[in-house]
Amino acid sequence: MHRLLANRVARGGLAIIALFTLMAVLSPVFLPYNPTVDADLLARLKPPTWTHPFGTDALGRDILMRILHGARVSLGLGVGSVVLAALVGSFLGLLAGYVGHRTDLCLMFCMDILLAFPATLLAIAIVAMIGPGLRNSLIAISVVSIPFYARITRGEVLALKEREFVTAARGLGGSARRILLWHIFPNTLPPLTVQTTLAVAFAILEAAALGFLGLGAQPPIPEWGAMLADSYKFFTSGAWWAFFFPGAAIMLSVLGFNLVGDALRDALDPRLRT
């Protein structure tokens, strides 16, 4: 952590993440917003002014307000899907690595099959089939992220289970579950932290892509990708603000997680420090 904070790039990334987290947490408290009664057709596609600093969209809704409230949806989707993927993926990885033999072979084959698809395509296809919506996009993004966690955790478990402290715990009569949960699992966490930070960045992008294709959050929920989908048809009329700001919000938040993930990787793996 100390090494991480000493890194200027990481501090920038952490500041961006903090800003978006505050937006997500505080907006509903201080700026109550009801997306169903927000339309003002007389103020359609107005450029930025003091009353609407980011302008208005095709239904006359204030874009800044929707971006602030969209933070909760977009970040929630990103973080939520990663938490789900990390839980399922690391459990499968622990199981495969520790039990070995056929379980390992079977599980890793399934993971390899999932990895054989381009992730974005698989997520799109899954949601296209199970139906659009926030919950379904969360499931789809999780499914495509699970193999990364399973692979990393399995690799770590294979290395760790030969180590002396694990042999000692086994020698002292520790049960398999106890050894896995108390001795092996905590040691798999450092590489998983890097993966998790980068995975949140990937998940926010995927969520935005699904939203953009009309497969994620459904109207009138303010979600950044869906906001872009609502406004992109107006780019020929020059209403740049309607798509510039939601896209900038996606890019900045993803950049924040990527900056921290990159710095974390450098901090945890001294070989990469160049």
């Binding site: 390899d112 099959i113 395509l121 296809a125 899954i126 294709l213 780019f235 510039f244 160049t274």
Partner: protein
Amino acid sequence: MGAYAIKRFLTIVPVLIGISLIVFSFIHLIPGDPAVAMLGERATPQRVAEVRAQLGLDHPLYTQYLIYVGKILRGDLGASILRGDPVLRDLVRRFPATVELALSAILIAILVGIPMGIIAAVWRNSVFDGVSRLVALTGVSMPIFWLGLMLAWFFGVVLRWLPTGFRLGTDVTLASVTNFYILDSLLTKNPQALASSLRHLILPAVALSTIPMAVIARMTRASLLEVLSQEYIRTAEAKGLHQGAVILRHAMRNALLPVMTVTGLQVGRLLAGAILTETIFSWPGIGLWIYESIQARDYPIVQGATLFIATIFVMVNLLTDVLYAAVDPRIKYD
């Protein structure tokens, strides 16, 4: 090398079976009756029964899978529910547009990414290195559909320099030979079509190239830095060779190997990324077709196109591995 290629090829057989299983199960992920989901609530029972028969849904699950695989092996990827056209025929017709876009994007990514990575490695920790790192990280953080929109708006609407959609101007005619418009323009000696197709290609290709460009630049930098710290480079420098020769003739040969691998991986990803770019630029390839089919709930197309792209993805990765083994004799299959 030959033995490695054959062994590596055999490993993709189970992977392809696994892919076919997942794509087959797609239709069963649809909540409720897939035939009703495709046709809508107002479809006649007779039409529902027809579609159920067309999809083979009235057989037991394992028979359905065997029929599905049998059809795939015969080159039958099903038919569109709305139009009845065979999916494979339309895939083959639209594939050149997507390949043309993806290859142009990867070309731009290589031409910009590799020099950027080399400069960043040679002047490591300089301002250029810092800026290139930030540019690369921004590149991978940017939603490509957003970048595409910005480019289309700025160069197409504000400056009016470039077209923002389709593959060819409406005032240009081109006789279709291969459906690769640039190639067709050259084959039919049609300079007007060549200029028009190139102009239409620029914006979507640049938008699609950002992520691979960033990945290639970072990989080139990391890989070159690793090679530059090796003894044989010091020997080359000690011989009195100037820096350019050391980097380009001695270091780059080895440093480019990992770059080649990530480039191969990116080609496959571009095919999937094209769904978003093609939607923005109304580019009539497989991506736009998938998007339209999702909107129309034409599931056999989504299923067929997913299987097709995933198979190409696996094949490109295989080809990259085999090429890697061809240029690096140390690689063996174990």
